[in-house]
């Protein structure tokens, strides 16, 4: 199966197999009016299987979302058919309005327009906690 190369846009590579759709959802790629291709279970020498997302358009991505969902992924910026930048994504220390606090007692459930902010509390186990109530976050 082949997918056309892109002239100007972003390729998110080395996504852990199975995480492509989660990234697609959290990055809000379904709302874009540019061509987006998700490739699942692509053969990879390094990873065995991986997912890839190609976005054909000059857009800015929230890299924190990628760092939260899959910190091993890489982001390639393509311009005029050339790779101009390759970024390795680390886990962000702060996540703002990416996931929502699910604690029904948290102030975020009632306070108008309050941002849902999480901070990295345990890097090893990839645990984020709500800055308001310290509840563990999940996507």
């Amino acid at each position: 199966m082949t997918v056309d190369s892109i002239k100007t846009g972003v390729v998110i590579d080395h996504i852990t197999a199975g995480k492509g759709m989660e990234l697609y959802e959290l990055l809000g790629l379904g709302d874009l009016d540019v061509t987006v291709a998700i490739m699942k279970n692509v053969s990879s020498n390094k990873m065995g299987r991986k997912d890839i997302i190609k976005i054909d358009g000059d857009i800015r991505l929230n890299l924190n979302v990628i760092g939260y969902v899959d910190p091993g992924a890489t982001v390639n910026i393509i311009k005029d058919g050339e790779l101009i930048e390759k970024k390795s994504i680390d886990m962000p220390l702060i996540l703002s309005d990416v996931i929502k606090c699910r604690n029904p007692r948290c102030i975020t459930t009632t306070e108008q327009e309050l941002r849902h902010v999480f901070k990295l509390s345990d890097r090893e186990n990839r645990v984020y906690r709500c800055i308001y109530c310290e509840t563990k976050g999940d996507a």
């Binding site: 007692r105 102030i107 306070e111 309050l114 800055i131 308001y132 109530c133 563990k136």
Partner: protein, 307 residues
Amino acid sequence: MRSVIDILDLSVEEIEALIACAQDIIERPVAYADACRGRKLATLFFEPSTRTRLSFEAAMYELGGNVLSVAGAGTSSAAKGESVADTAKVISCYADIIAMRHPKEGAAMVAAMNSSIPVINAGDGGHCHPTQTMADLLTIYREKGGFDNLTVGFCGDLKFGRTVHSLINALSRYTGINLVLISPEELKLPSYIKRDVIKKKNIPYRQTTDLQEVMPELDILYMTRVQRERFFNEEDYLRLKDSYVLTPEKLRTAKPDLAVMHPLPRVNEISVAVDKDPRACYFKQVLNGKYMRMALILMLLKEAGRL
């Protein structure tokens, strides 16, 4: 603007300074009688509380200051749907410092983010209650002369008990602390506190359901109430509320210098007969809480340039 939302907002050195200030207030109350003259404390209590609110108000009055009080969400603008952020901005126009209790976890932090005056968290749901922990720390300091090398037993509701979580966090910064966690299975200390605080700092601890078994080891016994308001299910509350009741008989095997503490109010987890025992410290905690709140109000007002 400096606020105190969590006990860990205060460094060990600041806790020491607050304890020294509280001790000085106890010894020389007259010297502080006009310390906050002309300053106003707003007590915003959106959840039922008598003692904490009165403690803050008594603290401010004993410093010579004044109090603006909002008790009960039903009588305030919150009942009309005003946000915590807006409430904090409005109260900042009237007062010099805010003490706030709210049923939602994180509410005091939101108030602090939007206030132009210091905010003291007087309890945000089941989350934090730093001034209770300050009262606990002054009590331990006065009873034991310090915080190092103590075996501290926490008994009762260790799952929802915010005072327990805060005090464990505060004590984890001292050396030689041993923790004994006594609770029914359903009310055990949350695993993230064990992992992020106790294990991370290599604090020796053991968990048990049997208070009697560990009683002889304890220097401090911190009893807690099983709180009805933290349960979604009334049946669970009724099943667990009488798990531990401390009586004079149960204290027979305890050390002669044990300090029995409780954040109050108690329901029936400490028999009234224990009140006569010199080891009962829970009413001293109440008084110590007022002195620590006085010290904290002074510290924050000075830092804010309002004294």
